[in-house]
């Protein structure tokens, strides 16, 4: 199995430890390859929501930590933001993709690319401060079994008003740009990561019966939608 994790921020940080432990000790899934994709760097200000043992590119630092702890998994790191030029190389036929990004522009890019593949699974999570959602796009033999991530229910993804970090970087001439972002709650990151892992396990078991799940931290509630 080839797994791609796009974005190594708050959600991915909560997701990866459980995902890797599950795969590393699963008798049938030990040949898994996990690629981490992120152009961002760990900074001291990230410590309130993210665990790291050195400063540096998030994909590289995270891969280094995980490969020590989970030797049955082969890790790759791609210290770059995903964009129109590199997406063909980074997301391929047969991949299982965890999208843990922090902007709708990248979700749209990933969604459109995956609709051009014949076989792919995308599990996409996103949160606001106390709630969020998980979307599951399963594409098999060129047919969508569930809705793509960019779909008519989510015009904010179909026509994103934000910019991807790759676009911002290009606009700023390749400089590392400080993006002022809304505060996030680690507990919300954790809840969405758990929802993504639930979807992953249901997919492995062949029992996924929804396109989307909504999760709310304060109400401690989740609810799924079958849309396709």
């Amino acid at each position: 199995m080839k797994i791609r994790v796009i974005g190594c921020g708050g959600i991915a940080g909560r997701l990866l430890d459980t995902l890797c432990r599950f795969l590393n000790y699963h008798p049938e899934l030990q040949d898994t390859e996990i690629s981490l994709i992120d152009g961002d760097t760990y900074e001291e200000k990230n410590r309130d929501r993210q665990a790291f043992d050195e400063l540096g590119n998030k994909a590289e630092v995270t891969a280094k930590v995980l490969e020590k702890e989970f030797p049955s998994i082969f890790f790759r790191s791609h210290p770059t933001y995903i964009d129109q030029d590199n997406i063909i190389m980074l997301l391929r036929e047969g991949d299982l993709i965890f999208s843990c990004v922090d902007n709708h522009a990248t979700r749209k890019l990933v969604s459109d690319h995956c609709e051009e593949l014949d076989n792919v699974v995308v599990i996409s999570g996103g949160n606001d401060y106390i709630d969020g959602n998980v979307q599951v796009h399963i594409r098999k033999d060129g047919e969508n079994l569930t809705l793509p991530i960019a779909n008519e229910y989510h015009p904010e993804i179909e026509e994103p008003e934000d910019e991807s970090p790759a676009d911002i970087e290009e606009r700023e001439g390749g400089c590392d740009v400080e993006v002022v972002s809304e505060p996030q709650l680690l507990i919300a990151n954790n809840y969405i990561a758990a929802g993504m892992l639930n979807a992953f396990y249901a997919y492995l078991e062949g029992e996924i019966e929804y396109d989307e799940a909504y999760l709310d931290v304060l109400a401690n509630k989740s609810n799924t939608r079958k849309r396709s």
């Binding site: 708050g10 959602n133 989510h154 969405i192 909504y214 709310d216 509630k221 609810n223």
Partner: protein, 108 residues
């Protein structure tokens, strides 16, 4: 494309004017039956919230107004009935599922 707006509201007993006069009294039991039928259950969804409410016969704009503070539904949230986009004039039917679609979480 918004679903075709239903032109006629189902007749509700509560809206019928009593004809008045001792010799022409309204049939109370028949009216109650009509009310029960008119106010059938509709499942209302917004994000992780799901409620089953006896609101059939009401239009979507009224329900949105009644629930906007209860469920924190934004003014611009899509309204969909059984998956179809509808406008505010749509009259809810028993067993409909009304979803006010919550936007996807942006951050990660």
């Amino acid at each position: 494309m918004a679903k075709q707006v239903q032109k006629e509201k189902p007749k509700q007993a509560a809206q019928q004017k009593p004809s008045g006069g001792a010799g022409n009294a309204p049939d109370v039991s028949a009216s109650k039956e009509k009310i029960d039928k008119a106010l059938g259950n509709v499942e209302v969804l917004y994000g992780a919230e799901a409620q089953t409410l006896s609101i059939s016969g009401h239009d979507v704009v009224t329900v949105r107004g009644e629930l906007k503070h209860v469920l924190n539904i934004p003014e611009d949230a899509q309204a969909r009935v059984n998956g179809e986009l509808v406008d505010g004039n749509y009259i809810l039917q028993e067993h409909d599922t009304l979803e006010f679609v919550k936007v996807a979480g942006q951050k990660g």
